[in-house]
Point group: C2
Chain length 155, copies 2
Amino acid sequence: MMTDELQFKIACAEDLPEIVRLLIQDQLGSTREVLTDPLPQVYLEAFEAMESQPGNDYIVGAINDRIVCCYQFTVIHGISRSGSSRAQIEGVRVDSSMRGQNIGKRLMADAIERAQANRCQLLQLTTDKSRPDAHRFYEGAGLTASHIGYKVDIT
Amino acid sequence: MMTDELQFKIACAEDLPEIVRLLIQDQLGSTREVLTDPLPQVYLEAFEAMESQPGNDYIVGAINDRIVCCYQFTVIHGISRSGSSRAQIEGVRVDSSMRGQNIGKRLMADAIERAQANRCQLLQLTTDKSRPDAHRFYEGAGLTASHIGYKVDIT
């Protein structure tokens, strides 16, 4: 499988099972996702909710129509930093059988291009402190670990 | 000025000068914002861009119509965590002349209520590593510093 044939596109609802397959491969994701056939209705509802928000998309990377990576790409317009727009990425995943082939690097390049095309001044993401491989990857990709990410479960 | 009269609402374009006034009071914000009368056009354009995104609002807190705090509140629908929606807050500011009156605490309570009303499962934010006061505040408010926040300037 030649990674130079890797193509990125905005996901459609039909790509959801593959996205969930990638999310569930992940150590943290394995406890958070449910992959059944058909897919639980919550994922379809979530995808529809995303479609109602301009600038909030899942992006999939495919080689010959086989999805090998994905990430969520969100444009957030804002007032601070003289009215800057930010691109935020979330849920970055590369198929575990496809590691070591620079797919993550290509994914980041796609995200930065997409952010620039959307006139964002900043690209941002957070990653769990328990993911040292991810930290090395993002630092290698030129991002700066300038912030602390806080979360609270409010269910 | 009685802080029990503090009321939160979604900001309108007329509130923009007060929002920029709060943003520019901040140490980091002072180098990033421009407060003139009339306000630079970029802020009005940014506000319009925010209005085009459902779920992306600036919130202001006012006491007797005087704006004393603000934050950006963004609902981000997503696929991961079984189709969870997140509330993200950004640009949290309390008027420097109004510190020590629990306004920040009331602001966080408003954000959490707003997140729950929007059926979000998670509230998240990042804060610059150089803001120790903010870290204490968010930890006191029950948030967990579970993540590292990466950013890259892509202008």
